[in-house]
Symmetry: D2
């Protein structure tokens, strides 16, 4: 169980022989496959997706050389978009928050108990409020004031803290717009938690919108951030039942539980290299 | 358990003394309350809603006279919008369908089994396909062709069949627009099943919309029909989880289960006088 | 919304006139009912249960006198088992834990955020491990070693800390047997979280039992502790789906989420005086 | 999408090279893999399970010869327990019922609309009641009286009707004991729906048991029938929430919905060759 492992993610045009090519290559080089998941999308052109985990302790050549051989022997002939990661290489995660602590605390607690294959390198907030709450977790807390007036400077300062240092940026109820420029620096590497069942109630104050529409179920959505607000690829969603008795406050209360659960799942799957983005959708090998 | 019962539904401006007034009135007249539910809405003006069931076998006066007394002694002083129904008075239900049978059959099974306090008086369809399928249920099946070109005549014919004869019209995947005029004849008495988790994916082909948006959960919504399409008061919703593996066909398949379950619940609650419409929302004493 | 309120819980033999008696009494004394829920159990003898919230700022007499009047005018004639509590009177809660932090932290977070109408007065553990984790919450942490050999002394020490000081004792994955004597000191006032969907998998290591039985759904159960192990009145349960892929570890991981959610809900309902125990079952006015 | 396909199910001791061996064999013979799922169980000895679907229209040899070649080249060296089925070979299903129609009707309706890859060859009942209800489905209905007194004769008669003619026997709320002898004739090919969340409330009248225990969630379980009552490998389960308001009748009502949903899923998975039994558990590639 504890042998070192690597994860291979592949996306390529579908055609016969892909499974045989990958699995024979790995077998030939002494890699024991421990997990194998695949999917073929039938939209327009058929696209093949796969995720493999394999043990690396009996490889017949160093991992770097295995990568080169894979590129030449398998990836090129099949025109693969691919990525190979050692499972010991933990993603570096930064969390952006404002004043609400629930989504942040859930991530930190999950991480602290060893359930998140990642290193949390920083918490950045546009308010100072949450500093004390995260003190026990021994993660650097940085206060970067941010609003429409100082957006450019704030983002420049955050980029200075994050670029080249964070592999994933998590918006854990960060109540500020993130510019298209900022987003472009972290392609498919910013995860936001939106407090509604998207695409319902995009935009501001979704619990109030949900209350006034009189829905009987509310939800939360974790998605990758793209230039278009609330429209990026959805990673995970969950919902909870409400009734006419629930006030906007009750919805927010219930929503907090949904948000932290949904966000924690999405971040864990991303950190385990279980998510492949394809167009505006995700393939999640959970 | 089998004593005859009546159901009282009330909506009025909230103020102290309502419960005492209603319950004392009923007690004075020999009505034993067996079920009592209430709700106060806090939007703008506070509004009080209640639903009571009481046994009528020991009333000290005939029900008609009880109604008159209630109107005078209780309803008028509290400015109540109210309705009193004998539980033995079953609602007369007509179902409108097109070609899909799932939502219709679910209702007919439920009814046949005795789980729906209603009489299904007719099934009307703009196609002939479902005639044989409902033959075993011994419900009149009427074929009324309907499309944009003949809408006016079709609705006139249906009104002839339904007005004064049906208390509730159920659109069980009826794939035709219903005009504002038709809707006006059955205020808060037409229930539609929409095959999405409204307000997400209103309009046509919601499963295709959901597929292309890449949501991880799909749903179905039962609502009262108003002049504005897909925007009436929601009675019930339910959802199911989907993944990247699910095709549009899979979503439709899953959706059929959601639709029939959600519609059957909404119709049952309506027939049991458990739903009060308030503005564009519902209070459901389920 | 912020007017002071009181909560009235009642259990009595069912008979006509109870609602009228209670509501007229309260109306007469200037109490505005804001919430009213009731239930009649039909097992053997019919039993009536109700929970009312009412505003106390316009009472025509002090609450103490109101209680006396209610006892005389209403409770005695109807043979009521009843309790009246000011909503400002917060319950004093003590939490017993061992080494696992998840259920405890959830309670402390909920409480810290102001979502629990209670005061957490102490955390007692048979291990020292969790001391540092709860330091930020500023709750007294007491280490009371406990096992079969020292059970009597340990419980005596805990009784010294708790009797007359705690209104509710929560076993948040406390891995020690609690003696019948200890239980008798807190009737219907000890809540335990059991890590299975009771009555399935009572006893030790339920996740391992569930794994070996090959169930497709696992659960957690919050219940009042009685002298008989794992058999007390159930307050709340929840479940999660599992597959053949899930190991015992995965089940424990999923289970932690279920446990903390279920326990937090049960404790919140108890602290809001929403639970009435009747025989070995609960009525929960949630 | 409509190319003819075959399904390969494999169970064998886990060791490196299995995926490469299977996928290379299929590729070599012109089989295009369209679906591939796998699982490795880590109990005691590691066991490998897989399910593949592949297109058969470009095979370089007839399917019979492919089977022989697979046996020799792949199955023998890896000591595989395996099965190859053409997806056009539909399973022949017989349904045993008593007086309740819900689970039966759901299966027949699913089958009639083409959602079940199977042929329903007979409905057998120990009562005559359901004959008329299934008339529209044009399935032979056979009345075979059965109780403890005539068990031996009844089962002999049913075996005469079923052996060699049915691939799967479904107990759709069949209220009679099935003998160990009968079970032995259909190993892993009798599916029962039990009206509780097993292992809770095994035995008779589970809804009454659930009611008296005061659980907050009830369930249904579809499992393969083995000689030991209610203890066979579980295929699928589902649950629904209940409250103190629900009577035994309400539980039965809710349960009917759970039962038919759970049974229909289990039967569909079995007919699609998605279930592998291993010891007393199932691997379900759904």
């Amino acid at each position: 169980m504890n042998a070192p492992r690597a994860i291979l993610l592949v996306k390529c045009p579908d055609r016969p022989g892909i499974v045989a090519a990958i699995s024979s290559f790995l077998f030939r080089h002494g890699a024991n496959i421990t997990d194998f998941d695949q999917h073929t999308s039938e939209d327009e052109a058929a696209v093949y997706f796969t995720r493999l985990e394999f043990q690396t302790d009996r490889l017949d050549l160093p991992l770097d050389d295995l990568e080169k051989a894979f590129a030449l022997d398998v990836a090129r002939p099949f025109a693969m978009d691919w990525r190979l990661t050692l499972s010991s290489r933990r993603k570096r995660v930064a969390v952006l928050v404002s004043r609400q602590d629930h989504a942040l605390l859930e991530l930190l607690w999950t991480w602290q108990r060893g359930d998140l294959r990642a290193d949390v390198i920083a918490v950045i907030s546009n308010h100072e409020d949450l500093g004390p709450a995260i003190a026990p977790f021994a993660v650097p807390f940085v206060h970067v004031p941010n609003d429409a007036a100082v957006r450019r400077e704030a983002e420049a300062r955050m980029l200075g803290l994050l670029e080249g240092k964070a592999d994933l940026v998590v918006l854990a109820r960060y109540m500020q717009i993130v510019s298209a420029d900022f987003v472009a620096r972290f392609p498919n590497a910013i995860i936001n938690i939106h407090h509604s069942f998207l695409p319902a109630f995009a935009g501001a104050d979704p619990y109030r919108q949900a209350y006034h529409r009189g829905v009987k179920i509310v939800g939360a959505t974790a998605h990758y951030v793209t230039a278009e607000l609330d429209a990026g690829p959805i990673i995970e969603q969950d919902v909870g039942r409400v009734t006419h008795r629930d006030t906007v406050e009750d919805l927010k209360h219930l929503g907090r539980d949904l948000e932290r659960r949904v966000l924690a799942r999405a971040v864990r799957w991303h950190c385990d290299d279980r998510v492949i983005v394809h167009g505006n959708k995700t393939v999640v090998f959970s």
